[in-house]
Amino acid sequence: MSTPLIHIEHIARTYEMGGETVHALRDVSLDIHPNEYVALMGPSGSGKSTLMNILGCLDTPSSGVYTFKGLDVNEMTDDDLAEIRNKEIGFVFQTFNLLPRATALKNIELPLIYSGVSSEERKERAIKALEDVGLGDRMLHRPNELSGGQRQRVAAARALVTKPSIILADEPTGNLDTKTGIEIMKLFQDLWSKGNTVILVTHEEDIARHARRIIRIRDGKVESDTINPNPVTKFELP
């Protein structure tokens, strides 16, 4: 097997809440290799988002080891983490997290601004990314002028425009109806088949069935980590 893209060992994350310690993650160890397609499942409050945020370098573990592409994340400064988030990780949120005042195109250009891409190249790449998610005709729309599914596709385009090593999606279909959810899932399927690495969090077995590997979490621990023997590649409306 190839060297892991992500390697975590005995990760824990605790929060102090009014003198009480909340154990969001207790002891999680995982390896994620390039071009894996992983679904992260588990009941509400089990620690899925906490884990995703750590994997996405938005948060750091209270203890344990996290290496990304062989680099020790615990050693990194805030700016190093920002750079990893910018160049290596494409994060898709349940609530889209688009800048409300900026157009779709501007939203997608933003990560490129932070990585210092020239304005012409930026625009070119942003247009391409928007066309890739099928929204070439919505470039100058602001988020509130787009449907939920379209917003999520803009968010996905923003995650992809920097050509990251891994796509992390925390319940990307959570705020969408089934039909638009399927559109987004098609997008991830597509990305994966083109060689991208994808981890997504979901509640729905229907959605998890598309992934090649399913990790179940309970009470901040990995409950099971299995290969999906027969992943679904077709998308049908129920």
Partner: protein, 409 residues
């Protein structure tokens, strides 16, 4: 990031919080206005003043009871000074003969000159002068002639009038040889003065010059006021000596003991301009001081606006950080925003400051001088203010934890 985007962002947040922002900008504007306004006033007055000095002549100096520019409570110093009497002045003139040319004069304001049905505005300055006055004071005769020593000593009621009187009383007629009335006394016009225009908003042509002896007799109630002595050295080289000489003569005339201070003022071009400089410094320091105080208040306002802006945009900051904005980007964005705010207020202040300066200029009918150095200073100050008061909010924004910021609703 591109500065333009930050500036646009700043303007957007102004729109979002119009009232609060406008109030803060107002206090910046007032501060800058005070600085620029004082600067413009000083520059304008200086320009006007310097041209007056040039007109006064290089070799001339004056001896007066009090100084012409008085600052603070210097009046205390002058309160008990005795007038320079006509006798003293005449004696002074006599003793200075051969050393320099001396002219004595006295003047009062607010006269109305009349001729038949014509009368002037009550703004005529009546000057009682001796025969040297016209040469020493550079009063140029346009038509007719000046009066001489005999007319002064014999108290002949003759007058030389300025252009305002010519226009208002004679309506195109030749004034020479005609009579005008000043405070119930008839004077024969023997000459007219060359037009001088106006200075500090006052016409210099509303003047009537009569012999000092006539002045003393007819305006005896004003006669208590002190005689002004103007002395013209024969050359620039002799000026210093003439000044020393006159101080000596004047001291002995006023019976001063060696340890006593002068009870009169000697004003040369230089001493007047240094007095003026200290007056304009006073004005400038006052403008600067009050300006800086209001800027300090404005700074606190700017900081408050920026803190609110950071709070309101926590989510946005979280998004930016989540997709890879480094600390420096966020810092830069908010500092540029603060500077933009300050500059906007500053520009408004500069605009109105210059406008007020222009207003003052036209009031005293001189060209207003825009104080470029103070304009640059204001722009620098606004930039520094943005830096100083925007840094803390910007630092707060840059230090936000991405996850917590994203969660903020």
């Amino acid at each position: 990031m591109n500065i333009l985007e930050s500036i646009i962002q700043a303007l957007q947040s102004i729109r979002a919080n119009t009232l609060r922002t406008v109030l803060t900008l107002l206090s910046i504007s007032i501060g800058i206005f005070a600085i620029i306004g004082a600067g413009t006033a000083v520059n304008t007055l200086e320009g006007s003043f310097n041209s007056q000095l040039v007109a006064m002549g290089q070799n001339t100096f004056m001896i007066k009871r009090t100084s012409s520019i008085q600052i603070g409570n210097s009046w205390r110093k002058y309160r008990n000074r005795k007038d320079i009497t006509y006798q003293q002045a005449k004696e002074f003139k006599y003793q200075m003969e051969g050393i320099s040319l001396v002219s004595l004069h006295n003047e009062t304001d607010g006269y109305t000159a009349k001729r038949g049905n014509f009368s002037t505005d009550p703004k005529v300055t009546l000057i009682g002068a001796d025969e040297n006055f016209f040469i020493v004071k550079n009063f140029v005769i346009e038509t007719g002639r000046a009066f001489g020593l005999t007319e002064v000593t014999s108290s002949i009621p003759v007058v030389i009038i300025g252009n305002d009187l010519v226009v208002q009383l004679f309506n195109g007629e030749n004034p020479l040889g005609q009579y005008i009335t000043l405070k119930n006394q008839k004077f024969q016009v023997i000459g007219t003065l060359k037009t001088q225009g106006s200075m500090f908003g006052r016409s210099l042509d509303a003047q009537a010059v009569i012999p000092l002896t006539v002045f003393s007799r007819y305006h005896s109630d004003e006669w208590t006021s002190s005689i002004e002595i103007t002395t013209k050295a024969y050359s620039k080289e002799q000026l210093a000596q003439a000044v020393d000489e006159s101080i000596g003569v004047m001291r002995s005339l006023r019976n001063l003991k060696p340890w006593e201070d002068n009870t009169f003022e000697v004003e040369t071009n230089e001493s007047v301009s240094s007095q003026f400089a200290s007056f304009s410094n006073y004005l400038q320091v006052f403008g600067l001081g009050s300006g800086l105080i209001s800027l300090l208040a404005a700074g606190v306002g700017i900081m408050n606006i920026m803190l609110v802006s950071v709070k309101e945009r926590t989510k946005e900051i979280g998004i930016r950080k989540a997709i890879g904005a480094k600390r420096s980007w966020i810092l830069f964005q908010f500092i540029i925003e603060a500077i933009t705010l300050c500059q906007l207020g500053g520009l408004i202040g500069i605009f109105f400051g210059v406008l007020a300066g222009q207003g003052l200029g036209s009031l005293i009918s001189t060209e207003a001088a825009i104080p470029i150095n103070w304009v640059i200073f204001s722009i620098v100050i606004c930039t520094l203010m943005g830096l100083a008061f925007g840094s803390y909010p910007a630092w707060k924004a840059a230090s936000l934890d991405p996850i917590e910021a994203l969660r903020y609703e």
